[in-house]
């Protein structure tokens, strides 16, 4: 770990001491700083996006706190234990998903939650981590790039929870689970020609799958292609968020002064569309800063993944790092009109409990995988 040229011996001592402290906590300093900056930025924006609601900011901060605790705990867990526990976590996750689907079917409506009395719990969130873990677990002792039979098994590992999640129906999470799993396969070194072939199959599958989508899901995709066709209906979200971002200009309208957000023209301004609030109030500068922070975190995470030596650790941490960027890109792409509206929150910034905790858990695991590595090279 290098901190560049630091003149003051006091500063160096302090930094060295804190680096040592972080190392003993199995945490990575730069990654932690990156995450903290994003979270802090998020809280500032949240105050404005929630309509100056201190309660919402505190709630968000509380969830962040829970996420940090979860991250701290998971960072302490030894990779070997994690690896052994993987099949159990995966199976439990599948069972919970089935339970949710059944409860939802009985209740005749969309069902994503399990009410555990004290808190509500979303099993599909677990699968966001459990699926790449299971894929990594399955592939780690098999020769890579994976053989065709192994590949098919991995695909099945992904398909089962993804299908159960989409059936809830929760297309957004289903897609994210699939992506997290597929990333493991790609990181495992799947041959380029197979990737291309699969891409072709996916395209055909998408064409088929179209008919299985719910009406509102089809509508969302169609609206993405032509938002103006229904400006007050399904296209409203996209139009309003583009107006918010576009009217923000380079420097923005100022904190708490975005008319689109403050006057509630922007739907879901504190959750899925908070990126547009940043764009309106802090302009291109504010968005570029956030994107830079995200890229820093992703870059650091990939760097850490490359430092790990076990296959399981590599595949899993690589997937966690890239999935994080996928979240960012899907949300920002959706809000800025590059992608259809799928309902994915902006990582660490959007209001919403479970996804914040899941993300921090992912980074906890990533730090654990990195910091528990055996130092072979110097």
């Amino acid at each position: 770990m290098t901190y560049g040229s630091i003149d003051s011996s006091y500063t160096r001592r302090t930094l060295t001491r804190s680096a040592r402290a972080l190392a003993s906590l199995k945490l990575d300093g730069p990654l932690l700083v990156g995450l903290a900056l994003i979270a802090l930025y998020g809280l500032i924006v949240m105050y404005s996006a929630s309509g100056q609601n201190v309660g919402a900011v505190l709630k968000s901060a509380t969830r962040l706190g829970i996420g940090i605790v979860v991250m701290l705990i998971l960072a302490q867990v030894k990779p070997g234990f994690l690896r052994r526990a993987t099949p159990i976590i995966y199976v439990v996750g599948i069972v919970l998903l089935v339970v949710v689907d059944v409860v939802g079917y009985v209740g005749k409506g969309a069902q994503r939650w399990l009410d555990l009395g004290l808190f509500r719990f979303q099993p599909s969130e677990i699968m966001k981590i459990a699926v790449p873990m299971m894929c990594a677990w399955y592939l780690h002792e098999r020769p890579l790039p994976p053989s065709t039979p192994n590949l098919l098994v991995t695909v099945l590992i992904i398909f089962l929870p993804a299908a159960l999640t989409i059936a809830q129906p929760d297309l957004g999470t289903g897609v994210l689970i699939t992506i997290a799993g597929v990333l493991v396969i790609l990181m495992a070194g799947l041959q380029i020609r197979i990737i291309l072939a699969l891409a072709g199959i996916t395209a055909i599958g998408a064409w088929f799958g179209w008919s299985f989508l719910h009406d509102y899901q089809q509508k969302r995709v169609l609206m993405f292609l032509d938002p103006q066709s229904d400006p007050l209906g399904a296209g409203y979200h996209i139009i309003q968020s583009q107006i918010a971002i576009g009217s923000g200009g380079i420097f923005g309208k100022g904190w708490m002064n975005g008319s689109q957000g403050q006057l509630e023209f922007l739907p879901e301004r504190s959750t899925d569309f908070i990126f547009a609030v940043i764009g309106e109030e802090f302009g291109l500068v504010g968005l570029a800063l956030l994107i830079f922070l995200y890229l820093f975190v992703v870059g650091r995470a990939i760097f850490l993944a490359m430092q790990t030596q076990e296959t399981f650790a590599r595949l899993l941490s690589g997937s966690i790092a890239i999935t994080f960027f996928v979240y960012v890109f899907i949300n920002t792409g959706m809000v800025s009109g590059l992608l259809p509206v799928v309902g994915v929150p902006l990582p660490l910034v959007s209001y919403g409990g479970t996804s914040m905790v899941t993300l921090m858990a992912g980074f906890g695991i990533l730090m654990s995988l990195y910091s528990h590595r055996k130092l072979i090279r110097s």
Binding site: P143, L144, I243, G246, G248, G249, L263, G279, T311, T332
Partner: protein, 627 residues
Amino acid sequence: MAARVRIKDHWKEQRLFERRALIAGALIGVLALVLFARLVTLQVVRHDYYTDLSQGNRVRIEPLPAPRGLILDRNGTVLAENRPAYQLELVREEVSDLDATLQRLSDIGLIPADDIDDARKLVRSHRSFDSVPIRLRLDDEQIATFAVHRYEFPGVDIRTRLARSYPYGEIAVHALGYVAAISEQDLARIDRAAYSGTTLIGKLGVEAAYEAELHGHNGSREILVNAQGRSVQRQGAFVPNLNTVDPVAGEDLILAMDLEVQKVAETELGARRGAVIAIDPANGDVIALVSRPGYDPNAFGRGISRVEYQALLDNIDRPLFNRALRGTYPSGSTIKPAIALAGLAYGEVNPSQTRFCAGVFRLPGSSRMFREGRSGRHGAVGIVDSIARSCDVYFYDLASRLGVDRIAAFLAPFGFGSLTGIDIGGEKPGLLPSREWKRKAFSNPADQVWFPGETVNFGIGQGYFLVTPLQLAHYTSILANQGTSWKPRLVNAVRDPVSGAVRHLAPQKDAEVSATPEQWHLVMEGMLGALRGRGTAAATAGRNMTYAIAGKTGTAQVFSVGQTEKYDEKTVAERLRDHSWFIAFAPAEAPRIAVAVIVENGGFGSTGAAPIARKVMDAWLVNGGGA
């Protein structure tokens, strides 16, 4: 590859992973650039476009309707004013299901079920973001009902607006007209922008004719709205600067009408059907304009229900019908002064000669008898007596000597057969017959010929000749003026509501009727005689006069009676009785009022109409008015 066992090569796998990670990193960089490019497009390239859109989103221009001008009588009594009223308004774009909403409003009793269709039409004819009044005046109970159910009706709200109020109700309704909700037809002819925010528009009478003066100029206010369209005070920490254009109130109208005289005329007509018009001969000012029965104009401003309106339409007495301007009747004997004047002017009458009336007139070479209408025979009558005692035989003879075309030519400048040009719309021209008219009016060649007998009837105001009560009043004022004609007018002056400055409208002169002073004098003597001695109205309108009245009775036949049978008032149904006419001006030497009265099915002019005219003149000349 079945037999081949693949050995895990950790070093190679590490290299493979690193390669993939770098590819992933590169892809991430590319996607980040795509995203950044997109943001630059939105925030830099198309920034102005989106700024306009966001501005349009948050600022809504709300119209501030101008208060409508008041209508006052000549003494400053308010006849039409504005009172705050609670009305139910609906914004179409904020209502998800218009039909269901209207039905539900009807279910809880806020709009009558019969009015749902009209309300829907009205809402549809406005722009989707306009707040359209669907019920104009809510009472306390309805306001309470809505308050309870308000949450069920997004996009529907109660607003306080100024509504039109007519404190005297039915009085003068046919002169004032009324205002009502702007209809689709109205929208087609008005400037929508100027009327945005205005809910009521003049429909008839003064309210319609002086709409431009009364309406004023609406202002507007920019308001900050949130996504629900609700007005909000601030946006985040920033209070924006919004423009307001104040409305300019409509001008007040000062009528020539005297409310007291008007009230007397209304009261005297009472439940009878008819019309009274009183005009100041000096300038054409309409002192009173009555058509009865009337109706309550407040009902229209309140939002008349279909049932109420249908009841007015179906009423056999036709209260919506403006008899004063649109009722056309035979003039009866009221035309005799003009025929006499024509006889004098054309030299067909020698003032010193008399003609013997034996009760019957025959055209030379014809056996057809034209009977005296009422009193049998008058004996020897001159020009003055023939008017005073309304001798039909005298005028049968005079008319046949004048001929129809000379009569028509002489009557035209009195305003017969054409519009008087009164300043409110809706008047009818009546009918002034002539040979040429008959040739054009009938398609059958046999009917196109003017018969001499028709001229004879014309002499006593029967036959094709039709007049409106307004025309007769106008004619009477010309008789009073000895030829000078002013266009009748209801509105005298326009007052600026802010400065109070009054702009008087100049009276407008019309074509003059020319005759010598002696000829005018003879005719007036005849009309004075009608209220004296053996005159037709001496016993009714002429009793206890404190000023000299010149008048003329008239009786207009509703249907012709056969030649030999005598007409018996009591045997025909009340509605088939003759219409009763009376015209008069007073004081005779310096006329200050000219009156025309018709009482439908009122029988003889002297008994039905004349007493009413006397009361009206008394109200104006004796009891304070007109001083």
